[in-house]
Amino acid sequence: EAGVAQSPRYKIIEKRQSVAFWCNPISGHATLYWYQQILGQGPKLLIQFQNNGVVDDSQLPKDRFSAERLKGVDSTLKIQPAKLEDSAVYLCASSLVAGGLTFFGQGTRLTVV
């Protein structure tokens, strides 16, 4: 079966610019996650969706980060405006049910200069 698809793979932007990442989870997976992985660290959960509803966004910096999953399938994560410390790999993941085995995409590597 196809895995979690993410685009773009790489993005370089200047600070204070905006950027958006796209994710297409595995077909049929109701739960979708966005993680931030700073170089040398483990992934940190930013937001979890169950279908098109937000389950947990407690670690999402809501002053600059936003995410949506309008039809309960694809999702976008946006940063506006970006800061230097936002440089990281943004991983999308999905699971069939909440708390089930989680499959990760390849990630989008963001560099803010």
Binding site: G40, G42, P43, L45, G99
Partner: protein, 117 residues
């Protein structure tokens, strides 16, 4: 705050040797501990998990040991191969009330495993 961390950031072994990757955790309320493998340019991949009521679990070439007394878990890889070279993360989570699924994952820092032919 609660955290999950690793003792050794890097580990180099020869092909065919056994590898042991260690992890310390601080949240005694965690129900599951999970090991992930992350190859360069890829997302983390599930390897094996263990419930808090177990002290050992075996998979294919991998064994996870859990010592709740000292809040320590380890991943043992038998007959390590060059394809095992990756960053290995441990993660901890609270399960749901029925113990059938994971809660939010908290990842540790990671250990870089390098296998030399």
């Amino acid at each position: 705050g609660e955290s999950v961390g690793l003792h050794l950031p890097t580990l180099s072994v020869q092909e065919g040797d056994n590898s042991i990757i260690n992890c310390a955790y601080s949240n005694s309320a965690s129900d599951y501990f999970i090991w992930y493998k992350q190859e360069s340019g890829k997302g983390p991949q599930f390897i094996i998990d263990i419930r808090s009521n177990m002290d050992k679990r075996q998979g294919q070439r991998v064994t996870v040991l859990l010592n709740k007394t000292v809040k320590h878990l380890s991943l043992q890889i038998a007959a390590t191969q060059p394809g095992d070279s990756a960053v290995y993360f441990c993660a901890e989570t609270r399960g749901n009330a029925g113990g059938t699924s994971y809660g939010k994952l908290t990842f540790g820092q990671g250990t870089i495993l390098t296998v030399h032919p």
